[in-house]
Amino acid sequence: MDFSITQDQKMMQDSLSRTLSDSVPLDRVRRYAGAPADAGADIWSAIADFGLAGVVTPEAYGGLGLTLLDAALAAQALGRAVTPGPFLGGVAAAIALNEAGSADQQTRWSPKLASGEVTAGLAISEPVAGARDGAGVTAASGKLTGKALFVTDALTADLFVVADRSGNLHLVKADAAGLTRAAMTTIDQTRRVGELTFHETPAEPLGGPGTLARLRDAAWVLLAADSLGACEVMIEKAVDYAKERRQFGRVIGSFQAVKHMCAEMAAELEPCRALVWYAAYAFDEARDESSLTAAHAKAHTSEIGRFVARTATEVHGGMGITDLLGLHFWFKRVGLNRQLLGGPERVRRLAAQIQGLAA
């Protein structure tokens, strides 16, 4: 038994973090945040150079052939650096292709996705988080009609994995007939989501509700890992700030009220790490526990994420809410991760249903 990440995984995470802090420093994120949708292409190519676009794609298709745990560790590093880019959709598309794609689909798409040449967006919000305002997609004779909201990288992705109302998945090309795309502006400017409108849009089938459940579990784990990384940074920033900022003739980090705020953040976040790791591990190695642990990882990290975001901001005093400091990029990142693909209450209800504890 070994409940830890390997030396290789640690090295991957560290060198990814180093690459990101070189190629995606905060002022780069800041520029990206206000820029047009396609402004992040160079950032994505740095990530793709790392092989991360194909992290779970089999080696035969040019990927790294790794596990969701590796993807989650990468997501954590991406969250630390509030990195833009279509990572979530890419991993989800790769999983869908691995698990439900035909040989033909795999040959056509997997290598391109793995190299980063083609990027993917994920459009599964309605069947997972619930449909608002009548959104939702219906499929009839290979064509999709309807609307999908909160689609990741909606304006820039080349390819979409779309779930219809019955939970069947489809692969849709961005230039498919009858597809229109529009941006949705969220609080989190580091990642982009949008709206897809389908009108008799041609689509390739790519698995049924079983595959959708797998994508949902994977996405929940990746969002949780992203929040974990973002929270780590917020705590580090709060602790560093508290060791420097002086009031009443001493550093505020020597005030117990401030120390205890920091201790509470650390004490809440640290155990999340083990749950996120386990949920990612279970996705590949203990499938019967995967949905339950993914749900708990997503919901719990969202709760702790909100607490850390709020407390870390508070430790910074007025500085915490300024644009100057940039802490808000992490605050908002965690905020999006919490709502995307289901808020904690909805996700926990599913956790209860999985165990037969709720109808």
Partner: protein, 397 residues
């Protein structure tokens, strides 16, 4: 990460399961703070003989003498938790004194005390806290003055759990009054029947006297009863407090308790509706389940760290704080699920689970305080874990 078990380990699991099934009729609850009764003593002996308690303690000291094998320990814990089988005694003698003696005790002290402690024949109490020395334990005043080969001990202790039932005490006393406060302390063992000791029970809010005040007047104790060297008591006690903190946040105990809560919510009905079918209650339950999972997997991280000899860092520092708080929250949800029935306290037709949730709800608050309060844990986390500065000392208050 690799949590798969080898066939050898799976066979070991079957063995433990077999043992638990065969001996189901002999399960005896942990003695807790009471003097163990016959059935508990027998169960304990059975556990030691089969290597399910005192597993890695050398045979010469009355243990089972197995090589440390974290995996097997984990399997034992998992199977006992799943079967709802009691793990044998979890008293202060076993969890605190025994590891201390193994670490720093003299050969004679090990031979003399470990075996009967493990078997529950000698019950210990822990004499650390004093009225003026709780969180600030090192300021303790109970003094031991030299008198030939002996010490004469005078002073008083408070919050001493089990003092009324205990045979022996492991006690912190000040042997060098002139030394700086951390340096003048010694760790001594002596019988509670020694003349000059008076125990006065302190009733707690659960209604029973779980702890006591203990008064010493010229209690004569041989100097050979010092563990780990005269004046070294602070370091000895600190080695032990680490064990106490781990025990107090044990995620396996918490997981077992969550299972009981789930059962309660599946059976308890209001207006004919099961509590588990109330969405708000179910949501609260799921929030706690997520926390239990975080602590369970955090525990696996700690296990792995202890296998590889790496420091567990923050993952270890948070166990006491988070574990004790979580236990209390589980009891609190059970009380809310019980509604008005949750305030009953005497045996009667409406009392559920013999009132154990009510007792836990109150007693757990004590565990949040004992072994270092939540605030003290946060000081430890911020100072040792996050490297934040200590609060500056005031010249005078």
């Amino acid at each position: 990460m690799d949590l798969k078990l080898t066939p050898e380990m799976e066979a070991f699991r079957d063995e433990v399961r077999g043992f638990l099934q065969t001996h189901e009729d002999r399960y005896a609850p942990n003695a807790g703070d009471e003097r163990p009764r016959e059935a508990a003593l027998e169960w304990q002996a059975l556990l030691i003989d089969h290597g399910y308690a005192a597993r890695t303690i050398p045979r010469e000291y009355g243990g089972y003498g197995a090589e440390p094998d974290i995996l097997k320990s984990r399997i034992i814990t998992e199977e006992f938790t799943a079967a709802g089988a009691p793990r044998g005694f979890a008293n202060q003698g076993i969890s605190m004194l025994v590891p201390t003696l193994l670490e720093v005790g003299s050969e004679e002290q090990k031979k003399r005390w470990i075996a009967p402690t493990l078997r529950g024949e000698v019950v210990w109490c822990q004499g650390y806290s004093e009225p003026g020395a709780g969180s600030d334990l090192a300021s303790l005043q109970t003094k031991a003055t030299e008198d030939g080969d002996d010490f004469l001990i005078s002073g008083s202790k408070i919050w001493t759990s089990t003092a009324a039932q205990a045979d022996m005490i492991f006690c912190l006393v000040r042997t060098e009054p002139q030394a700086p406060k951390h340096d003048g302390i010694s760790y001594v063992l002596f019988p509670m029947k020694t003349p000059g000791i008076e125990v006065r029970p302190l009733k707690t809010m659960t209604g029973s006297a779980e702890f006591n005040e203990v008064f010493f007047t010229d209690v004569r104790v041989p100097q050979s009863a010092v563990v780990g060297g005269r004046g070294r008591g602070w370091f000895v006690a600190n080695a032990t407090l680490k064990h106490e903190r781990g025990m107090l946040g044990d995620p396996n105990a918490t997981e077992a308790r969550l299972h009981s809560l789930i059962e309660l919510m599946k059976t308890e009905r209001v207006d004919g509706v099961r509590l588990i079918d109330d969405p708000v209650m179910c949501d609260r339950l799921m929030q706690l389940q997520a926390r239990v999972l975080t602590m369970k997997f955090n525990g696996l991280r700690l296990l792995t760290a202890s296998m590889t000899g790496e420091s567990a860092g923050m993952a270890g520092l948070v166990v006491k704080l988070q574990g004790c708080e979580l236990n209390h929250q589980i009891a609190a949800l059970a009380i809310d699920a019980l509604g008005e029935l949750g305030v009953l306290y005497e045996d009667g037709p409406y009392l559920r689970s013999k009132g154990s949730w009510q007792r836990s709800y109150m007693f757990d608050l004590g565990l949040i305080i004992g072994g270092g309060t939540a605030q003290i844990q946060k000081n430890i986390i911020s100072e040792r874990g996050l490297g934040m500065p200590r609060e500056p000392k005031l010249a005078s208050v």
